[in-house]
Subunit: 350 residues, 2 copies
């Protein structure tokens, strides 16, 4: 929002941006939470107005992204803050944020604790019953919308929220997102953030413990900190560092420790020229080659290849110089075989 | 160096690293000099020892890199600080850095000014004549080495420097760098930096005014700030932001303002569903498609495509809905032509 406010006159609206880069947060350091991490984010920012259809396009991009990352079973949970605020207002609750904050903890602390906390915060039993009844509404997306409408609540914000959410759900299908991958969820509140309408949280179905791996929403007033322009936006982001950390912890993905280097050329004392010439020739064939240049025992040179996971080693000495034959050692199997240069290139390329 | 000192026990030496990322410098802000910029760097760091042959491999990587970037005419200028320090020591000069700092300005301020400055710094006329004579030594790489040897200077550092430089020049050829692309240059000093031996500066032959676009050298003692381990290294870096800025300024490269988006779908009022469905279908064909979702005059929607350089536009209205034919507008030529869906995909893929 700040960037857009600053560069307002140079931009073409609606302004669509994506960004993958490092971001910094003043979070408490804890397992899987980092203060410096990579984030991938997309946003659409309008000038004065921004169609609600953008709120459906954003999760459709997330859908394709997670598909491309190889995930099938994930759910983009969607809600609209206007529905929550409108409903709570209709109960006579002015400070909606207290309720949102408590409701946001529902999954963590359970229904009873939520009830308790709401009581402590001075809400009446009838208000609390209504709140719990409300966030307990379940069913298919269509059913939930029907049930919300059936509440017959006369509150402009509430009605607006239902309209927006219905539109988003409808267009999500048009954008090609299968119904399995998105779900209206009235408990999604996104805490005390700057979101004003649609809100998103994305969960991996088989790993609910990981929590939301991608979240965002509509922010209509964020730019007002920086400019008088009305620049409504909608966006979503993936905390890549945290996501990959958690996928690793859960054993879902693994790092591959392979070296980029295909072959290590080890010249014997006095045969550095021949070793480097061979390496240069192999590099010209696009074979990633390293030469071991330090003076150290031969065993330690093999050790080096081993530790870095370099799959092949060629030792260059008098024999190789004279015969033009190269002994290639497969570091995994220990197998050694002799090749002429042409065969060597073919073998290393296989 | 700090990273290697910190992670010493986890690393396999010689440790080879590359890095492309943002770096920050407390430089004075001026044209083409940035405090935040992208840098590409490579380093090899040894444990206790590091073969001088690495000093030749580093510029061979730079050679391939500049070749891959499309440059042919560039010169990696090479020198060795030990030769300079050794020679200045032999003249009875203890504070070599003052001389280095002045000599480093030779290209900028010229021979006479250098002489003047050296006088001001209290050097004797005979010392200054020797210095100027020394850095004036010219010829092929081989000739310069011969001339240096012919000076018959009895200084260990000087002799060591000549040996190292000769070795680097010899191995550069073995690493496949053509003689046109590297040149011994005794005026290369790299100011007051932490370099201890070989130093590099790379120039684009046709654009000397751009200055050095890639520089580095051998640093034998850098890690001593962080550890008791002796971790000698050699490295070189390209200031990417500055390089590309200067290549742009010089008109050597141009930014392409093209949009990634291939086609903008503009649905008329009441035809958003059809527009989005078409966009989703095109996206599934891997055609980068945007839908214009805001309510605004048609002319401004075309304007949007124009400003962003989106090459094609399709307007979706009643006609298109009923006929299944799509009118594609080529934004460059203004040409409009009607296609059925299959033809449309073919045309957009062409």
């Amino acid at each position: 929002a700040r960037y857009v406010a600053q560069h307002y006159s140079e931009l073409t609206f609606p302004y669509r941006r994506y960004h993958i880069g490092k971001v910094y947060r003043g979070e408490r350091n804890q397992k899987g939470r980092f203060r410096e991490f990579y984030q991938a984010a997309i946003d659409v920012i309008g000038n004065n107005n921004l169609s609600i259809i953008n709120d459906a396009e954003i999760p459709s991009v997330i859908y394709s992204t997670f598909k491309d990352l190889g995930f099938d079973k994930f759910t983009i949970k969607i809600n609209n803050r206007k529905i929550l605020s409108g409903f709570f207002n209709s109960l006579g609750i002015k400070d909606v944020y207290i309720v949102l904050r408590v409701v946001d903890k529902l999954e963590k602390i359970g229904r009873d604790k939520v009830k308790e906390e709401l009581l402590e915060n001075g809400f009446s039993l009838s208000q609390i019953e209504s709140i719990l009844g409300f966030i307990g509404i379940e069913g298919s997306n269509k059913e939930i919308i029907e049930k919300l409408k059936a509440l017959n609540i006369e509150n402009e914000l509430f009605t607006e929220g239902i309209d927006e959410l219905s539109t988003v759900l409808e267009y999500l299908k048009l954008f090609g997102v299968p119904e399995d991958n998105f779900k209206l969820d009235l408990t999604i509140a996104r805490g005390l953030d700057y979101y004003t309408g649609t809100v998103y949280e994305t969960y991996l179905d088989d790993y609910p413990a990981i929590g939301s791996v991608c979240s965002g929403g509509r922010y209509d007033n964020l730019a007002e900190y920086y400019t008088n322009q009305k620049l409504p936006g909608v966006g979503i982001s993936i905390g890549l560092t945290r996501l990959f950390y958690q996928l690793m912890e859960a054993g879902i993905i693994k790092t591959i420790d392979n070296s980029l280097t295909r072959v290590l050329v080890i010249p014997m004392d006095g045969y550095f020229d021949e070793g480097i010439e061979l390496a240069s020739k192999l590099r010209n064939e696009e074979i990633f080659t390293q030469v071991y240049l330090e003076k150290i025992k031969l065993g330690k040179k093999f050790n080096y290849a081993d530790k870095l996971g370099i799959p092949f080693v060629i030792v260059i000495g008098e024999e190789e110089k004279n015969s033009g034959a190269y002994t290639l050692r497969d570091m995994k199997t220990g197998e050694q075989k002799s090749y002429n240069y042409k065969e060597l290139v073919t073998r290393l390329n296989y």
